[in-house]
Symmetry: C2
Subunit: 243 residues, 2 copies
């Protein structure tokens, strides 16, 4: 759907698309979960315009493989770098095969909630990382993806509330984010954590992003993001012996 | 508040109070997280009427220490057993001091959301468990404890929705559950998981309870429990080297 011209035009104009990592309000939390990048072999799962891939190379990564299903986004990513350590490849994360032991760090920003089968990818990532390899990922928070009608409404006391329903009803959700008919897959928080543990990772951090006081002072329009978490951020380390 | 006569009378009449573990719909999930009990030294944090303490002894635990702040509940618990392996002690979990290395399993059912400082207790539990010791706990789910008005309302499309607000606003929540003015402490899912990791546990399971199809067939009135999770269930193992 990132190759749909209407959607692409809208997405390409978002601050995080134009200005990169620093325009993504959750980036400081995600960055704090990352190990030092120097010398690491990195795979960027759902690399989009390649902002993270270029940042990782600039931080001293030995190599970066950026994977994305969107041809349009990859074309932009390729145009933006001449760094020989960075490679981009078109790949559907629901079908991709990664070489065993090929990476030290797997990173994924806001891509996994588009997948039909996250458990399959997590198992593949575990095999692609050597023991001690690190996974850092963000997804839309399950509280955000659950509702039939994902928009704030006025609550019983007049305050805005986020109308949660269908939380335990996993599966397809069709929303009108940036374009009509965008398909995501809702899963519960225990699905993400359980998938990570089942794949053979040890959980090292779990964060639920909301704006800091400083961010809120600069962006008062983000107040709603404190009422319910927008992003779930996870990190894990590949256990010495795979599960 | 469990010693308030009105609250106590209401609580004592709940199915889980009268019929014990099998009347708690989340018990099968929690039970599956437990290690074999034979020979273990168990502490039951918030033991209430002692249903779990008696079950643990029946399963072969070497000793069981049941702690609760409610004198009324402990009186019932003491009356219900003559097993010399079970000891009950009145203790406020926000202040309790546990002996280092004194236990192999710490269990807590629906008590931690009453505590002002869960991190303090988790650190104490970690010290009270030897390396490899296990913690299994249930709490009211953060989605359940967050709202200003914790009751289903009719959503935009007419379906019942759970009105989430103040999710990232940790702290006191006053509800009218069984009696007016019951005080609980809301914390986020990342607070619980982060507290467990910071205390030196490795997370081994995270579940969000909702009724199974079988439970729903028997209790159609529980349908709402699928719209948002009621309980969060966690287990961890004390890391070999404390954090």
């Amino acid at each position: 759907m990132y190759d749909d011209p209407g959607f692409f035009a809208e997405y390409a104009n978002m601050p995080r698309s134009v200005q990169g990592l620093d325009a993504a309000p959750e980036w400081p939390v995600l960055r704090a979960m990352l190990p030092p990048l120097a010398g690491l072999r990195v795979v960027d799962l759902g690399c989009g315009f390649g902002w993270f891939s270029r940042w990782a190379a600039a931080e001293g990564a030995a190599s970066v493989l950026g994977l994305d299903v969107s041809q349009r986004m990859l074309e932009v990513a390729v145009r933006e770098t001449a760094d020989p350590r960075i490679t981009y490849r078109r790949a559907d994360l629901d079908a991709v095969e990664l070489d065993a032991g090929a990476f030290d760090l797997a990173y994924s920003s806001l891509a996994l909630h588009y997948l039909v089968d996250v458990d399959r990818l997590l198992a593949g990532v575990r095999t692609a990382l050597g023991p001690g390899g690190v996974l850092v990922a963000s997804v839309e928070h399950p509280i955000y993806t659950a509702p039939s009608d994902p928009a704030f409404v006025s609550g019983p006391s007049g305050r805005p509330v986020w109308p949660v329903d269908r939380y335990l009803d996993r599966g397809r959700r069709v929303t009108d984010w940036l374009a009509p008919g965008v398909v995501k897959y809702h899963r519960t928080l225990s699905d993400y954590v359980g998938g990570l543990l089942a794949a053979g990772f040890t959980l090292t951090a779990l964060e639920e992003w909301g704006p800091t006081d400083e961010q809120l002072a600069e962006h008062p329009e983000w107040a709603g993001e404190r009422e319910r978490p927008l992003f779930l951020l996870l990190s894990g380390v590949a256990a010495t012996v795979a599960a």
